[in-house]
């Protein structure tokens, strides 16, 4: 019988990465949307007033749409019990 100190350290697969196809889909979708809401896109291409989106300036409207999609992805992830 091995003494406690002689036991090997248990090895587990990385918990930072998904292990299912749907998990990868959720992760990639979320990251893609976050990239759209971060520099350099948000501070360059999206950084303008025109054209107006549903009556609000472009930057504000663009980000609002991105945030709606982010929430939708989160709800989908929870609904699928990922």
């Amino acid at each position: 019988m091995k003494l406690p100190s002689e036991k090997k350290i248990p090895q587990y697969h990385n918990h930072y990465l998904p292990r299912s196809r749907q998990g990868w889909i959720g992760l990639i979708l979320f990251l893609f949307l976050m990239i759209l809401a971060e520099p350099p896109i948000v501070t360059s291409w999206a950084n303008r007033i025109e054209p107006w989106i549903f009556g609000v300036p472009f930057l504000y409207g663009y980000l609002t749409i991105i945030y709606c999609f982010l929430i939708a992805v989160l709800i989908w992830i929870s609904w699928r019990k990922l």
Partner: protein, 500 residues
């Protein structure tokens, strides 16, 4: 009747109602630490949802966010990124913290970290970092409360008296009803502040501009600098946009008042649905804040203290009863954060210091009374801090979220198993160097290369944690198997059955 009488009376009516809720909570209270400190680990979705969001949004989020839009323009809509990320961290990290708490009976963040890293030094460091960086956040709420009551009363209730009254109410329902009272008042506060900010913003927008769409057009015509980045004062650089997201996502979730809430959920599904849906509340709360801030910048362009724009607009342009109701919403925002931080610090000091080192074998009722005494002591400290504002305290307030953030590598080392195991020496080294770099990059040389000091500190923390862990002794294999094995089974195996 004088407007200040109406406004102040409504605020006091709200305070009396919170005390009544505290008394009702007391009738359901079981005199043991799990019920007094953790709601018996039975918090359902609605209660936990509203307590999480109302804890997250403080007085300065209610008032300060409008001020930020006023000063820096639409760049503060970056808040959507960190609130979405808060949902992700609640879903992933929150559910794991819940699982470990249920399986091993953890009550505080330090319980979990000390168990895995097999170190009482880790326990003490985590407890001290948690309390130190959040106790000064209490001061921020106290200042906000005193200010709100002073404004609402037109100066008839001085700042010091107003502060004392509101602190007394908050600590009273906390010590009477424990976390149950905190949660029930948070339910009221979460609903009230959301409705208050929306109603106030829409009424002001329609009265002053004819509606939100007309407001946006007028801002574009008169102040287009408010509608693009980096904003009038150049604040929202690419580096600051990104780093605020990092600090305000993880720095909030790692704070003890948030982590303790994860322990209180009735199930893992509750936490996961919270993670998915909390961003709805959080993100939409910033929409009226934008209307108030941007509209205020057009209406009163020379505000000395932009954080005051919301109450000033209310007093000038809305009836006193509405001003009272909305300012009661601001009071509720501050009190919901204040009572949560008081409770968290009370829990940490009772469990991690008193029970652990001073009187380990006392009864549950004894610890409940000790907790109540500690809460009273914290309130006295908070009151004194609000009256005597020292320079270094102001600096420490600014470090609050970024400071708690330095515990993140240690927490992730427990909650996300990988083949590489962090060690107690590694995490302690990382926390130490993280706090030092935080001091240098947030105070001495603020935000180098426009990156928030918290990000520099976290980076240095993480690098040193990994390097030192590589060359130091990991926890015993039995501990790793017990804790990481539980998470492996919980996440990828039997789910909640693995926790029995």
């Amino acid at each position: 009747m004088e407007p200040w009488v109406v406004a102040t009376s409504l605020i006091f009516a709200y305070l009396i109602f919170t005390l009544i809720l505290g008394l009702i909570a007391n009738r359901k209270l079981a005199i043991d630490m799990e019920d007094f400190l953790l709601y018996g680990r039975q918090a359902g979705f609605v209660v936990l949802y509203l307590t999480l969001v109302s804890t997250y949004f403080s007085a300065f989020a209610f008032l300060g966010s409008s001020g930020f839009f006023y000063t820096h323009g639409v760049g503060f809509w970056a808040a959507g990124t960190w609130t979405a990320m808060t949902g992700v961290t609640t879903y992933t990290l929150g559910s794991r913290i819940w699982a470990l708490g249920k399986r091993f009976g953890y009550i505080t963040p330090a319980d979990m970290l000390a168990d895995f890293y097999e170190s009482e030094i880790v326990r003490v460091v985590v407890a001290l970092v948690s309390v130190l960086f959040t106790i000064l956040y209490i001061q921020v709420q106290v200042l906000g409360l005193g200010y709100i009551l002073s404004i609402a009363s037109g100066g008839h209730i001085p700042f010091q008296l107003g502060t004392a009254i509101l602190l007394a109410v908050a600590v009273l329902y906390l010590i009477i009803g424990g976390l149950r009272a905190v949660y029930w008042t948070d339910v009221l506060q979460g609903v009230w502040m959301y409705l208050a900010i929306w109603v106030g913003a829409l009424l002001l927008t329609y009265k002053l501009f004819g509606g939100p769409l007309q407001l946006w057009r007028q801002v574009a015509a008169e102040r287009p600098d408010l509608l693009t980045l980096p904003g009038p004062q150049g604040f929202f650089t690419p580096g600051m946009w990104f780093s605020m997201g990092v600090v305000l996502t993880f720095g909030v979730v790692i704070q003890p008042q948030m982590m303790i809430r994860y322990y209180t959920a009735a199930s893992a599904r509750t936490i996961k649905w919270l993670g998915a849906t909390i961003p709805i509340y959080s993100i939409t709360l910033y929409i009226p804040a934008a209307l108030i801030g941007l509209g205020g910048a057009l209406t009163i362009p020379e505000m000395e203290t932009p954080d005051r724009i919301f109450p000033v607009l209310l007093f000038r342009y809305t009836p006193p009863w509405l001003t009272g109701i909305v300012l009661a919403g601001a009071v509720s925002a501050a009190m919901s954060t204040l009572d949560s931080i008081l409770h968290a610090n009370m829990t940490v000091l009772t469990r991690d210091i008193y029970q652990r080192y001073i009187r380990p074998q006392a009864s549950q009722a004894h610890y409940v009374w000790v907790g109540r005494t500690i809460a009273l002591g914290l309130v006295v400290v908070a009151y004194l801090l609000s009256i005597y504002t020292f320079d270094f305290l102001v600096l420490l307030v600014a470090l609050s979220g970024a400071g708690a953030l330095q515990l993140m590598p240690a927490v992730c080392g427990v909650c996300f198993p990988t083949r590489f195991i962090l060690t107690k020496t590694g995490v302690l080294s990382g926390v130490g160097v993280g706090l030092l770099v935080l001091y240098l990059t947030a105070i001495v040389y603020p935000h180098p290369l426009t990156l928030h000091g918290g990000v520099w500190a976290l980076g240095a923390n993480l690098i040193l944690t990994l390097i030192v862990s590589r060359f130091s002794q990991p926890p015993h294999p039995e501990t790793i198997e017990r804790i990481h094995g539980t998470l492996e089974e919980f996440v990828y195996g039997q789910g909640e059955k693995a926790l029995n």
